[in-house]
Symmetry: C2
Subunit: 341 residues, 2 copies
DNA sequence: ACAATTTTGAGGTACGTACCTCAAGTTTTA
DNA sequence: TAAAACTTGAGGTACGTACCTCAAAATTGT
């Protein structure tokens, strides 16, 4: 059985009140007594029973997810997961709120984060490209003792407590390996398409893709990235141009999830049949495309896991408790029709 | 804020004691009053605060993992995860014990399960091939109100509460898809090797593999399964024979994890270079083999997740609480060198 | 050596639930 | 209709922690 505060009091030969003062660093304990209590904590291996403490405190974890308000399918999936987490949250002493801010508008984001500070939240999960403004806002949050995790897109130079997401360079490499081994083993060209190369994720993926392509599949030529900007017609146009301008296209790599148009165009057999398509993010659309074989492979990260992980990490950081890092690692998943499950 | 028992008492216009009697089905409440309390529960959406209840009860979940005592690398990995879960368990009011029984000895297994019953455990995770004896033992456990989950290997016809593992037919299909697309697109032969076809998993994987191979890659010929029986030399011999007897071998599919010998033989370039190898279960050995490219792809299930999931499900079942099934689904993971992470 | 200050202990209440006892009230049965 | 059986309420203690008050003790400064 775990030691309790009473065990500590007995061991350190002090009263329960003093133990309490030390544990919750309340004033009025001499250095000597503090040391005695800390020694007892160490000796008995005491750890606070967080559930009992939360009961006594009537604690509610106020957690906020801040996402860019774009209309991509990935956002939608993430939103759904956050909403479903929010329902379960109440039975775990947490309240989860989702705030959407205009994409690529650091100012608006910072304003929202300030608002959170005033509302005394316990933790914030931020999905946003890294910019100096955001970095500063995160520092400010940390000064106010608010737990912060970066979601999906890392904030490497910030004070952020944790990053929950995948290494996009490795994801790009994985895509390249699949692409390279799925297309016939002879020269050919690969189309790369994305919403926007402004996003750090896309750039990293392209980087990883090119690296592995160069190292392992030098007989394949990777074409310049086409940017679709979430505009269906633009994507269509770009693809048509690409196939007109380049012969011997053997594969398409979609860096982002929002390329519904691609799947549709590919389905409407505009292309010669054996075209290998690799895309990112498992959504209802890519799922369907895998099923009808208009996509060959999807590289994805489990959004449900990401959201649950964010909640666990934010709670742990807010309690200053250790996290189980193996549980919180997000994997780069490869999904084929066969393991869609 | 969630409603409490006091809210229920007020709503149903009864005393706290009566609410308590209903909630913990203690005797001495008239049907009418019971209905009133139940109505209040429904109206207020009351759910028991499990953490407070556990505090009051000083509850400790006694959980047992029963695994076959074989020496495969997969077992080792699983064992490590159970041990690490066991360390964390104490801070979650749980104690986890690992029991190893002789493999393929239903009698020994049943004996251990009986022992658990006498020790009044809360839940048992069983990894064992499905046999009538085991099925009966599980029924017995369920009669004694012990939560039971099947681990890795399903017990479909048993009274088991839950299965934690993957669909091995689908896993075999996934392996086939990778194999079929990784080898050159022309006729060739595939060697299939396993420890033993006695295990249900291996049979299912082979089944799925053959299905997809037949449907999609009929130019490839899948050879009869070689059984290694955990014997290094036997594996070596079988492989040597196979390569002697069959020309044009283009791939090797390892159904089970315990085929250390394969990787070593493959590494010692006994085979013509471009031989595609697909194996199951990510262990320290297959990990290394991926890294040095002697294996092309590994199909795996996350053992850490499996163990954590088993613990969560056993606790939930023992409390008769809903589980979050999306969190408990084990995915068929594809691991390449690039997404080893 | 005295007052002022700091430190410590004793005791309480609370969180939401579990489980216990005892007495009073209500219904059933003989 | 009285005894027996059942039903209900009131009240208590406990789990491990948080947070409060007040008084006693120990230490400090003058």
């Amino acid at each position: 059985m775990r030691p309790t505060t009473n065990d500590l009091a007995r061991e350190a030969d002090v009263s329960l009140a003093t133990v309490d003062r030390v544990l919750n660093d309340r004033a009025g304990v001499s250095a000597k007594t503090q040391a005695r209590v800390n020694a007892a904590i160490k000796k008995l291996g005491y750890t606070r029973d967080v559930t009992a403490a939360n009961l006594a405190k009537k604690r509610q974890y106020k957690l906020i997810f801040v996402l860019p308000d774009d209309s991509s399918q990935f956002q939608k999936t993430l939103t759904e997961e956050i909403e479903s987490a929010s329902i379960r949250a109440s039975s775990e002493r947490s309240s989860i709120q989702l705030i959407k801010v205009p994409p690529n508008d650091p100012h608006a984001l910072v304003k929202e984060l300030r608002k959170c500070q005033r509302r005394r939240v316990d933790g914030i999960a931020i999905m946003a490209p890294e910019t100096p403004q955001v970095r500063d806002a995160i520092s400010e949050l940390k000064e106010n003792n608010i737990a912060v995790v970066a979601l999906v897109s890392d904030q490497p130079k910030s004070q952020c407590d944790h990053f929950i997401g995948i290494n996009n360079v490795a994801a790009g490499r994985t895509a390249a390996k699949l692409m390279g081994r799925f297309v016939p083993n002879k020269p050919g060209k690969i189309i790369v398409i994305t919403n926007s190369l402004q996003s750090h994720d896309s750039v990293d993926r392209r980087l990883g893709f090119d690296e592995t392509m160069r190292e392992r599949f030098s007989h394949l030529m990777v074409l310049p990235t086409l940017e679709g900007h979430n505009d269906r017609n633009r994507v269509k146009q770009a693809l048509t141009n690409a196939t007109r301008n380049y012969d011997n296209v053997v594969g398409v790599y979609s860096l982002s999830s929002g390329n519904r148009a691609i799947m549709q165009d590919l389905a409407s057999d505009k292309f010669p049949a054996p075209l290998v398509v690799v895309a990112h993010e498992l959504t209802s659309h890519t799922r369907k495309a895998l099923q009808n074989e208009s996509i060959d492979a999807v590289i994805t990260q489990n959004t449900g896991h990401i959201v649950r992980s964010a909640v666990r990490v934010l709670r742990a950081k807010s309690d200053q408790v250790e996290i189980d890092s193996s549980q919180e690692r997000v994997r780069i998943e490869i999904v084929l029709k066969e393991n869609l499950g």
